[in-house]
Symmetry: D2
Subunit: 480 residues, 4 copies
């Protein structure tokens, strides 16, 4: 099988029968349900890009594993060059206007599982790594989308997994059988899960010696019996828009709460089961990849925001005002610093013995925290520069109405070389980016997605060589 097209991706979904609920109703076919379209569009851009001359060079390569053409999303990253190309691809895909295509998760999961299974095998003579290789091979051959199911509900925060009154607060093994395991629990915050081809499930924290049943990681088809997806509606308008929501009408992911109610997983899909000392490794490597991806991806969205600010101020006739140029510059500084963090992670990584080139985590984590904190500023600038009209202009229906339309056409005119309809569109673009349900969803994703800032901050502190610089300070005071 070759690199898939959008149609082939959608066809693969048609063959899956996940149990999906959305807004209080069971969804029979997500491919024909309108509310899933923004999500399908979002994931599809990675398939479209693979066949688009503008992106193909960055997107596609020959797999060292299969020798066949694949996309980078299923590739086991082998060196710094790989990482740099992927970094550039992630930012370039911003051209497609989609804030999150989710395909980075495929890469995060496969690479992290590759490393984790390798390490466990080395210690325990298990044969997880061969299984993961098979999954990767299949992911490459079928150009799959893989979803991450990571964050347990956690229950009472005062207690460890083994101490929870309800043991299901962390997903765990309830039965071990000759042919596989049965798991129970749930995973929250699983973006796009129902329209992936396969889930990668693993612990959201390291487990201790008495928590073996919680130390479990595996792949599973999305329609395995016992899996239920409870979806949140996409941050997109429920009806067709002509001028409004130019981004969120087309793109936007559904978030999912996944219940695993006695789900059977055959051994050939399991790559961690009780080896507690490796229970944190998967998340750790995943994190190195994911925050790196997020930095590049966030820079791409910042570019879009900068473009929007440039356009609306051009139409408003204020583009050359010094304060507007200052806003642009501040936004560019943020975008380039976040992207620099992605490039640094790519160039300053290391190659794990299993052959995976792992980006340097501290940059991705630092960049992601910085990006999360800067989003408020970005929105301030867009609201400031867009002006009150972003907040107060009525709907496109007013613009198309025979009584109110002509009034708006007359009074929204600024420069005579800018069509009023274009200015209205630009206003609605800014509104979509800063004041829509999409804006709210994106804000949350930037802050909480891939770990909250506080978690990442703690990791940054742990990753930094504090001992080394304290010794430097000691040398300073001893004048050595």
């Amino acid at each position: 099988m070759a690199i898939r097209t959008r149609q082939e991706y959608l066809a693969s979904l048609k063959r899956q029968k996940p149990r999906v609920f959305l807004a209080g109703e069971e969804v029979e076919d997500i491919c024909t349900h309108g509310r899933f379209l923004p999500g399908l569009n979002s994931v599809s851009i990675t398939y479209e890009a693979a066949h688009d001359p503008l992106f193909a060079d960055l997107s596609n390569l020959f797999s060292p594993l299969t020798g066949e053409p694949i996309t980078r999303w299923t590739h086991i990253q082998k060196d710094e060059k790989d990482a740099l190309v992927k970094t550039r691809l992630m930012r370039r895909l911003g051209e497609k206007l989609c804030a999150c295509h989710y395909r980075c998760l495929t890469s995060d999961c496969l690479n992290a599982a590759w490393v984790t299974s390798f390490e466990i095998d080395r210690r325990y003579n298990t044969d997880y790594h061969q299984m993961v290789q098979n999954i990767v091979r299949r992911a490459q051959e079928e150009d799959l989308v893989i979803g991450g199911a990571i964050v347990d509900p956690k229950g009472d925060r005062r207690y460890r997994p083994a101490e929870q009154p309800d043991p299901d607060m962390y997903l765990h093994v309830v039965e071990k059988r000759a042919d596989g395991i049965v798991v129970k629990g749930a995973k929250a915050h699983s973006t796009a899960a129902p329209y992936t081809n396969m889930l990668c499930v693993f612990p959201c924290r390291p487990m201790m010696a008495d928590e073996k049943e919680f130390a479990v990681a595996f792949f599973t088809p999305v329609d395995a019996p016992g899996i239920t997806f409870i979806c949140k509606e996409p941050p997109s308008p429920g009806e067709r828009r002509e001028l409004e929501n130019p981004v969120s009408s087309r793109f936007g992911q559904l978030e999912t709460f996944i219940v695993f109610d006695h789900v059977f997983v055959p051994w050939e899909n399991v790559f961690l089961c009780g080896e507690v000392e490796f229970s944190g490794l998967m998340l750790s490597v995943f994190n190195s990849f994911h925050t790196w991806h997020k930095c590049a991806c966030r820079a791409a969205s910042m570019d879009t925001a900068i473009g929007a600010l440039s356009l609306i101020t051009d139409y408003n006739g204020t583009a050359q005002a010094p304060h507007i140029r200052g806003y642009l510059t501040d936004m560019i500084l943020s975008a380039e610093l976040v992207y620099a963090a992605a490039l640094a992670a790519a160039v300053d990584g290391h190659t794990h013995e299993s052959g995976v080139y792992i980006p340097r985590r501290i940059y991705g984590n630092a960049g992601k925290v910085f990006a999360a904190m800067k989003l408020g500023e970005e929105r301030y600038f867009l609201q400031e520069a867009g002006g009150g009209v972003v907040t107060t202009l009525g709907s496109e229906k007013d613009y198309f109405h025979p009584v109110t339309g002509p009034y708006l056409e007359k009074y929204l005119c600024t420069r005579d070389d800018v069509a009023v309809v274009d200015r209205v569109k630009a206003i609605k673009l800014v509104e979509d980016l800063v004041a829509s349900p999409f804006a709210g969803w994106y804000h949350g994703m930037c802050i909480s997605g891939g770990a909250t800032s506080q978690t990442l901050r703690e990791r940054v502190l742990a990753d930094y060589n504090l001992q080394g610089v304290r010794e430097r300070a000691l040398r300073a005071i001893d004048r050595k």
Copy 2:
């Protein structure tokens, strides 16, 4: 007539017949149209407060003009004590959970018109001031809501009003008659206008000698022939919610674009007509009042956000984590500084010869700019502390559904002494505050409402005694 009740306010609206369009349709009766309800609720809290023992002491007083009981909204502010009480009232009203009751505009307009008309009369021996006194008296006797219609569409920003290719880009007088004037133009960004009792219309910038027809200010009933309101839907859900949108289901203003298509205004409602050197005064005084009000009001909303963060982290079981306490402290610091700006404006004002006590503008403007810039941080903290669940939890319909409900009930449990439904409500409160259409609208209002930050910054620089401190620096270098 006494201080009105909510019912009396609504009854007064019933008697008005404004021409209103909303989302592409003409609205016959705003009082019975569901989309207007959040707006009516918002304004009504000022009427409810006047009859609520918790607020009445702050809200109500005897009018020095009529000797009758009135609310502070129609009062001509006479001293620092008045201003301090109003400041406290504005923050206290945060208890009512409404982010903007809009009633401050009544006060802003009446006080500014009082000053402006007094000044013009003194120079020109006009009799505007008596007219304004009559309006104030009526506003007090009938406990009116007055709306502001201020911001002209502005057209091509390169040109002054008189230079615009289309002269209607700034509202202007097209005919002077014995009994009044006829005006044409439009006013953007007019919050709540259709459900006020009277509009106060005035220029959004000082006019020059050749722009006499643009120097016009007046009061007008909202249903004067020729006035058309093009409304934006409120940032509220269009259907009933049980758990979601606890704030925006109830409160939220409609923004309006107002067209004045040959509107007749009798002389007894006009208080500026051609006296260009006073064309900027109204805005200037209005601004002194309005940004002061906004600081107190913004602090009130910050309190609500702090409460929401405290509640959700309490339910999540993270309230005592040092970083959470840090977020709370940062939010409190911002709230108290913004409120301090309001108090400072109140205490450091001056009494105009006409008898109006005008708050010191620099504090209100500085506080408003600071508040606008801090909103992004507030949302960052709420998203961070609320956690991914704010972004990913599905709708209340999932929670009430027989299949998915029990799953959510089981897995959203944190502390055993917190009912899951309460945690869901708290999550939905945070979502309402940071990731809803309400959040988008409120963000825009904080930044653009009452002038964008750049405009206020320029005024702050102009108001500050730069010459004085430069002379101090000169004394420093000359060691005097």
Copy 3:
């Protein structure tokens, strides 16, 4: 005795014989020792102001206690009006160019001691309050400077006072005698102490039931036997400067470490001795006054910095550049917000039963934290706007040298209407404010003086009505 002059203040110091060490040498007479001059100058501005028509109205009043004219520094503050006048005085004194005149401590100590002694007497029928009244009366009659000696060395931070391996880590009573007590310990961070007339010594934290000997507060002459002052040199150049250090050549305090080695204090100077439940009250009231004062005072220094930036950019010829105007505006915003915090504290305080009007603590603390955090920004702006020349221009000796002087005269010329010597002076002013030892000292004082930000942050969180806003959030989710 009347309000003192500078000369009378200095004469009073002449009569005192404190044991003072500075830079490794014992100082016989601080009044004639050159390194003490900046400190004496600093305190003296409060005496000069009292006799200067520009400040006298704000500075002086009739004492309700003695009926005689006094300065505000010794006044027991009785109402909001008092507090507002003092706030204005503190900012106005910025005209004198001294960053810290230290006289606010006199006020902080007297008012806090007044409240504390009143409270203890009420509970224990002690007669401390009469003693404090006597001290206040004397301070008013003799127009004294009173120094604060508050912060204990603290020893090992893991232990409470009573648990310290060395009990002297917190100042404590070692002997109680019929005529008084003997104390031992030390107090760090005591600005200006040797050139005050009297010290006010009190605990830097609340003491527990088993820490009675640490719960001690008293006044003492600075030359009581057993007191040793170990002084840090002032942040001033050690030699005369013509053009350089225009501020720090004249003004700047000495910091002192005070050792109390078996110091006798007669009962008539003691106002807390073992009443542990009141051991934190003195600090608490002191803090309410001190951070309030610091906000007004910090705004005054910000004004000076703004003046310096305005002047240097005027001389550089860049004053009208938009980014320079932006820097000015940002600095003004900070100054006005910090001052607003001071005004708010003044206007929103309460009158204690003892008659003292106590400013509202949360504003002073919030403003002080904000000011401390903004200092880095102020310096960034001054360095940015001043340009590289602030960092690279040699000393005034080069400017006065026959070879290098003419070169500098030629090449430092900018606008032909600005004398080069004036530009040099302005450059040196900016250097003095941001890159001198004075700059370093002032930075530390802004951050650590009167409690570090973390301490104040915790107090702000404690002072805020968190319970109240959480209940508001509860009402929100219950739609009440």
Copy 4:
């Protein structure tokens, strides 16, 4: 000649006879003048590192030009790998505790001259490039330090160079002779110039067609007749310190104002003379190198600051407090982001046709602006965490004094496993970093050195593809 030692570097200075003034006196021999020692120490660390096994691998390589071993400072950078090694070297040199070794300028000047001369030759068939190659060859063979002399005094900012009332405000050619040119003018802000081996002089702005005489760039020995250095004292104490100023006692550069009073430059040292369209190129390439270097170097200093904060809080006993860990994390975030900018510039550069690999300018500029803005925060954290003792502790003379020493030894004790003298040293380290003349100098260098933030901001805006993202926004609103 091989890679030089510190001794060989100093010997080379001995052979030079520059005309140097410092603090109003002419300096005969900078090598034996105590005030020059910190500068000589600073530059020397690059020579010491070359012979230190810890740094040699990063520092040294074989020159593609001479085939001999050289240091990276004289190397013509040929690829991304070169750039990455240099980036790492710059940060690693932080171990040496010197905030600025100045050697990056050698690299900046040689590489930029290489590119510039190549471009001019291509257009004009001049033979500048061969001359530059000769200089580079000599710099490599003799392992030279090269100083930059770039910033003209600029005179009246309203006028271009050709318009200045005094033509010397920009350095220019006053005579062209067969054997060379004679130049007149001055260059400000020239760090370390007198103790370099050679100056590289070039315009600080692009010149226009009528400004040919100002378009001049050349190398010159530092002791060419007519050159006068007016030096600013180093930010180091003038006397020996045992405990104080552990960094600035040893390291710190002198800033120089250089006068060129009819200086003759032989043609073989000139590489731009009248080719106005290339007058901005040198600065542009220089800037690409210099801000990149500064980002790596600033990260190195941030590491030192982080080490100092870690050490002092360890000694104070507060290292584990959550807020201290938060400060550390914030500082690490900044350090890693700034360093990420350096890595990104290194990895995302391009190879010029002349063979020079030029780092991507936008990252270095963005990183430098970010670093400059973050310095205030770094100092805030150090002051906050260090505590009041940083500001108030007297000099080491008090600590060594027989009377005051024992008091300090007793009362400065914190943890019993930390020697008080070590705590004093750590306090003095923090003071040296944040509150000393060194701190002031370093602050200025971070902000103004290598162009002020405003200049860099304008370049960032110009370098960013604004047109590209505006077109993306256009595609968004047209839903393409």
